[in-house]
Amino acid sequence: MTVALLLAATLAVACVIVVALPFLREPDPDKDVLDELDEDDRRRLERLETRDRALSALRELEFDHRTGTISDDDYREQIGPLRREAATALQALERDAPEQQEQSPDEKGRPTGGRI
């Protein structure tokens, strides 16, 4: 019983150390804020998702047409809108790009501290 209690106490102490590790490693950091995406990056991420979705839909349509799963009629009806969607997504990203280049990461306020 004594051995078990000793082991239990050691376990508890080890866990406290593991939990306190971030504070022990950096007792007085320059920055202690979460490294999060700012609004610009989040908007860009959404546009990247839209772009990837459109390109993936185009690829799938091409392959399905090649295999014969999608008929010529359906292919002709869909290829135009899908290409326009992909072009719009790419243009939106290109519009974002100059704005992003004008701002350095520090100016955008994104913390550069340790990662989570």
């Binding site: 019983m1 051995v3 078990a4 209690l5 082991l7 239990a8 106490a9 376990l11 508890a12 866990c15 593991v18 939990v19 306190a20 590790l21 971030p22 504070f23 950096e26 950091p29 920055k31 202690d32 804020v33 979460l34 490294d35 999060e36 995406l37 990056d41 989040r42 860009r44 991420l45 959404e46 990247l48 998702e49 839209t50 990837d52 979705r53 993936s56 839909a57 799938e60 349509l61 392959f63 399905d64 090649r66 295999t67 014969g68 799963t69 999608i70 008929s71 009629d73 359906d74 009806e77 869909q78 809108p81 990461p105 994104r110 501290g113 340790g114 990662r115 989570i116």
Partner: protein
Amino acid sequence: MPELGRAALVVTLGLSTYALVAGALAAHLGRRRLAQSAQNALIAAFFTTLIASGVLLAALVRHDFSFTYVARTTSEALPTGYTISAFWGGQEGSLLLWLLILTGFGAAAVRLNRSWARDLIVWVVPIFGAVAVFFSFLVVAVASPFATQAAPPDGAGMTPSLQNPYMLVHPPMLYLGYVGLTVPFAFALGALLSGRLDERWLIATRRWTLFAWTALGIGQLLGAHWAYVEVGWGGYYAWDPVENAALMPWLAATAFLHSVMIQEKRGMLRIWNVLLVILAFSLSLFGTFLTRSGVVNSIHSFTQSSIGPWFLAFIGVTVAMSLALVFWRLPRLRSPTKLESPISREAAFLYNNLLLLALCLAILWGVVYPMLSEAIRGEAVVLGRSYYDFFLRAFGLPLLLLMGIGPLIAWRRASLRSLLTTFRWPTFVALATGGVLLALGAGSSVPGLIAYTFSAFVGSTIVMEFARGTRARKALGAASWPGAFSSLMARNRRRYGGYVVHASIVLLAIGVAGSSAFDSVAEAKLTQGESLAIGGYTLVYRSLAERQSANATEIRATLGIRRGADDLGTLETGKNAYTIEQQVSNEVGIRSDKLTGEDLFVIAEQIDPDGSVYFRVFVKPLVNLIWLAGLVFLLGSVITLWPDRREQRRLVARASEVGLPATR
């Protein structure tokens, strides 16, 4: 060392509480070190639970009957394999297993995604923490596996029906499935709390959901096979509440796995997907509640306990808080895209979702109705097999058909003319199959005939898709046909792995229809030398013998089997009398025909002192396709789960464009 086990669980409770509170504070206040600390607590909780599990396992293996749990679930004579399976054979141990898998999955999911989805993970940690607090509280304060007593000379032993090799795998698989559904739930709630409703929570959890769904599916099939060979009533699925408890979250997860494709491809159904994840997790909690609370009478429910109210309260809080979060985030969850046509792939997937959900809710109503009727009228009214069979046919058969239609329709909209062209051959194959089967006499069961016809339709669409895809890859420059086929699979594992899973469902449907709609049964009391005929077989009762195994007395009747003029050898069936447990179990005799998939299934219902035996005999056509379906299902799931390097590269490129680390 029960003290060490108890202490480890108390530390787990402390760590989980810290992960919940510190994690929530860190996310709310935006504190980096506090968030790291909460993550460390969640990871440490896994190791402390592992220590507690090690203590219980050691006590089981050493037959330490000073542990009340060990004394209640095992005995000295119990073989080592079953002694280990007692870990999850009783309530306290199975709750500990839940906690072990939960903290393990939580720690792994956080570690794997902490760079790539770091702003999401800080909100995911407190959700895992909250679920872990509940389960660690249960094993610390309500149902501790480390309760002790003065050690009796021997334990009470294990319920005989649990002394089966399937029990070594079936419960852990189900638990991997139940608990695995916590991962998408935690990420969905993390996304709602943080407002990061981009695709990352879906990407981070896709494989976890698939893994949990696969484990739940395989776990159920193993359970069905266990019921078939061990319980000895002649079937594999009885619509028992505990069986339904595993089926419901699987159906909800199936719906999610389909509708998530619509969100990925078209950006639609974002609210629906979050609701499905919440439903699947809540049903997994409800399943554990049904199995472990003793609230229902079931062949699988081995316990009566006081954890029921705790579970109900936790399920209530989980559902209420999750729905409140969805309601709070409704404006941001609304999709910018709309359904363009009722004849499109997304519409077919939506119909599939509605049918899956309708089936799931019909089963849920069947499960809760006896409880509600008992609470209101003081008498439990059980909805019988006909209730479930009706809904299985009403929703399951259209689902089967949709499985063939959905993948072959174009996204957005499809013209009727192209539909007619696409489905010309599958329809011909289906109608021809139906016609031939009708001519062969399969019309005795209309649902069975429809199931076969639809299966032929779906099967032909799958074959067609593989053939067309392979031909296209060959035309695109693959050196050989096998090369074209493997290139096809490698380039779109999700799609073609999905088709393999669909093929397994077709096999399952054929197996279920064959064995339930076209089976035959005969029963008779025979003395030695007498015979019984059924479905072309003749069974001759030859002898009765008694032998002693490690923990039971085995009585076996030997029957000679003939089919026409062919001698098919002998079959043994009988009963086991377990000495310590003071229980008797049916031990069925099964002869499988590997060519036709048919089983001859014999139960010795009653063995009289004069040596005469009352036999019940079934012939179950195609039943072995159900177990084959399990293997095909596993193959399809593995193909789908296999890492896709091209997709990984695309995701990494996308993440790096917004300054996220190029690793997940």
